[in-house]
């Protein structure tokens, strides 16, 4: 019986105008967005390769350990084709310096100001916004239209359990939608494969792609179930349509944006700029303290500008610098730790609130799977920090430059062969690591499906078919 209803729903839908609109939208937008995003990725990859080779060309011969600036350059994520996420916002380069610490840079130019203004039309946008809207337009009248034209009454007059009707309606609508969706996705992936920009059919990439597709199906299904639920709660198609559009706007545009505002009010955190100023103040204070300590030692023991004096200076300087460096590191680490802790709390709160909207869960899942999300942001900062520590230890500590007020500059350049300077290689999170973070959002999408369908069932068994 369910099969009969599914077949009827599919036929009824396929003969409708909305199916034609969905078909055209999917066939045009999905392959186009994949192709355009792939070209953008290709360009970003070329920029990355060029930056790396230019930097390596510039780093030759001997450099002094005091002034050398060591760069780390991050390649773009291939999966940014599907979800741009934070890709354009995250630093693509960082510089490890002796005096200013670690400097993050985002030197991408705005090639397309309109895209920056209106947002990128990637797969995430198409599924998250366009297809979720199509899903509710598919199902808003699933029950009300049948009630209005009397066919529901006629169907229920048979020996037909109501849950068969509801399952049939859900499956019929969803399968109909799958036709244009699967076709357009297949074309998009084929275009991507033929272009040779990135090969998605290999190992972990293929698994990521499959999980992305599964998450998108779960997400779209949430809106089918939501449409079904509202349709069982209303008597007229127009009422269902208006109610659903209102709910859709709330879920898509209001809740995800309002969540971080709420989190900022509930849990305010200092800005990154304030933290940088605090760090700069710590560095200045330590530098002053160092200068004062060295001045004292210099005046007492080392007022001698001979080579012997310089050696004695380095001998006496070392424990003072080591002590103050440790103090500086501890203070900087404390500021950074406190900031990260509070920022993470705020972020967790905002993410938690935003997850009331299925779009938030879908966005988190898709961006993490595409390595353009929050995990990748943390990963970049962590790897940049580790790289900076390595450079400090192996490069910057090989020289010094002490400005002692009233007594002048004391320095040792510490010449270093650039070949021996460690190079930065970005390590993306493994799929298993990503899945540990993403499962909650996949689970939530499941939960929304079950919740909306169960609610639709509860209302439909009591639905007045007269």
């Amino acid at each position: 019986m369910i099969k009969t209803i599914i077949q009827k729903e599919m036929l009824d839908n396929m003969l409708s105008l909305r199916f034609m609109i969905t078909l055209v939208l999917c066939l045009v937008l999905i392959p186009l967005s994949i192709f355009v995003s792939a070209r953008q990725y290709e360009k970003s990859l070329q920029d990355y390769n060029q930056s790396v080779s230019l930097y390596r060309e510039s780093m030759h011969g001997m450099r002094n350990a005091v002034d050398v600036e060591v760069r780390g350059i991050r390649p773009p994520s291939p999966f940014s084709i599907f979800a741009g996420g934070l890709e354009k916002t995250l630093p693509n380069e960082f510089v490890s310096t002796r005096d200013s610490g670690l400097l993050m840079e985002n030197n991408r130019t705005i090639d397309d100001p309109l895209s920056a203004l209106f947002g990128k039309m990637d797969f995430l946008f198409l599924v998250g916004i366009v297809l979720s809207l199509m899903a509710i337009l598919f199902t808003f009248d699933a029950v009300t239209r049948e009630a209005e034209r009397g066919t529901l009454r006629l169907a229920v007059s048979n020996s037909l359990p109501r849950h068969h009707i509801l399952i049939g309606k859900y499956a019929g609508h969803f399968f109909t939608f799958l036709i244009p969706y699967a076709a357009s996705l297949l074309i998009g992936i084929l275009v991507l494969s033929v272009s040779g920009i990135v090969n998605l059919f290999q190992g972990e990439y293929l698994v990521r792609l499959l999980v992305i597709i599964a998450a998108s199906l779960l997400y779209i299904s949430v809106f089918f179930n939501l449409g079904l639920l509202v349709s069982t709660l209303t008597r007229r198609s127009l009422t269902a349509q208006i109610s659903l559009l209102f709910i859709w706007v709330l879920l898509i545009f209001v809740l995800p944006r309002a969540s971080h505002i709420a989190a900022r009010i509930v849990h305010p955190v200092k800005t990154q700029q304030t933290v940088n100023l605090e760090k700069a103040l710590v560095r200045k204070n330590i530098e002053d303290e160092k200068a004062a300590a060295l001045n004292q030692e210099f005046s007492r023991n080392l007022n001698d500008n001979t080579n012997e004096g310089a050696l004695k200076y380095e001998e006496i300087r070392a424990p003072i610098v080591a002590r103050l460096k440790q103090k500086e590191n501890e203070q900087l680490a404390s500021i950074e730790r406190e900031y990260r802790l509070n920022k993470n709390r705020q972020l967790r709160l905002a993410s938690g609130i935003s997850r009331i909207s299925p779009l938030a869960s879908f966005t988190f899942a898709l961006t993490e799977l595409s390595n353009t999300g929050i995990i990748q942001m943390d990963n970049i900062f962590e790897q940049a920090g580790q790289f900076h520590e390595t450079i400090n230890r192996e490069v910057h500590s090989q020289g010094y430059k002490d400005n002692i007020p009233g007594l002048g500059m004391r320095m040792r350049m510490g010449w270093i062969n650039t070949e021996s300077i460690p190079k930065f290689y970005m390590q993306n999170p493994r799929l298993s690591q990503t899945m540990q973070k993403v499962w909650i959002d996949i689970f939530l999408l499941f939960f929304f499906n079950i919740l909306f369908f169960a609610a639709a069932y509860m209302f439909f068994i009591r639905y007045d078919v007269r």
């Binding site: 019986m1 009969t4 209803i5 009827k8 036929l11 009824d12 003969l15 409708s16 209005e148 034209r149 009397g150 066919t151 009454r153 006629l154 169907a155 229920v156 007059s157 048979n158 020996s159 037909l160 359990p161 007045d464 078919v465 007269r466």
Partner: protein
């Protein structure tokens, strides 16, 4: 067989829509329920189809309590509603095929569908035409063919002749007579006293939720049924 025993329906707002109705429709019998709008005819129909539950009393289909075993009871009943809209984008045959399958008839062929549509007087060219091109009368005929194809023991018809032209109305009466000959119990609610007189074996008149008159064919042919009906309609509510 259809049977109503003390069937009562009081809505949440206190309105008594049906007040202890008792009747039965035997196999091979046509029972017409007459009454003005709001008299309780459609409520009676809805109770037999389990669209609503009775406040008191019981509706039986083939001795099965509709409230207790609705799915079992509905196996033995077909239904034709007043305004049959059906699926406009489907052809007549596709509509018939869908509802036949819902009624449990899964092995029917195209010829079986055509045969039923011919029987209700639909033109051949309409069989594969989309329903949105159909007139109200044609849709009504298709609705009747849906009821026929289920081949249930009992048929409920809610104002089936409304909107039918005289020729279609006459053809419809012939179909009812045929169904009666096949042993079906036909329960029809209608305003159309003339058609009721033509085909009914028994007639009931409803007013304000009560069955105020019940006559066999022999009884109502001896009296002026139109006058009795109008008298009941004009009589102030009790």
């Amino acid at each position: 067989m259809l049977q109503a025993i003390d069937l009562t329906k009081r809505y949440e707002d206190g309105l008594l829509a049906l007040d202890h109705i008792n009747f039965e429709v035997k196999q091979g019998e046509i029972f017409c329920l007459l009454g003005a709008n709001g008299a309780g005819k459609t409520t009676t129909m809805n109770l037999f189809l389990n669209f609503i539950e009775p406040s008191d009393g019981t509706a039986f289909i083939n001795s099965i309590d509709v409230t207790k075993e609705p799915l079992e009871a509905k196996k033995y009943v077909s239904y034709v509603s007043e305004n049959v809209m059906l699926y406009g984008n489907f052809t007549a045959r596709q509509n018939l095929d869908f509802f036949a399958k819902l009624g449990g008839k899964t092995n029917l062929t195209k010829d079986d569908y055509y045969k039923v549509m011919r029987r209700v007087g639909l033109q051949e060219k309409a069989f594969e035409a989309k329903l949105k091109t159909f007139s109200k009368g044609m849709r009504q005929k298709l609705g009747i063919s849906i009821a026929i194809i289920k081949d249930a023991d009992n048929i409920l018809l809610d104002e089936p002749t409304s909107g039918l032209d005289p020729k279609a109305g006459s053809e419809f009466l012939t179909i009812l007579q045929d169904l009666k000959k096949e042993g079906k119990a036909v329960f029809m609610s209608t305003h159309d006293i003339f058609r009721a007189k033509t085909v009914a074996d028994r007639v009931g008149i409803m007013k304000d939720g009560r069955l105020v008159m019940l006559r066999t064919r022999e009884e109502f042919l001896e009296v002026d049924l139109e006058k009795i009906y109008l008298d009941y309609m004009q009589e102030p509510a009790a």
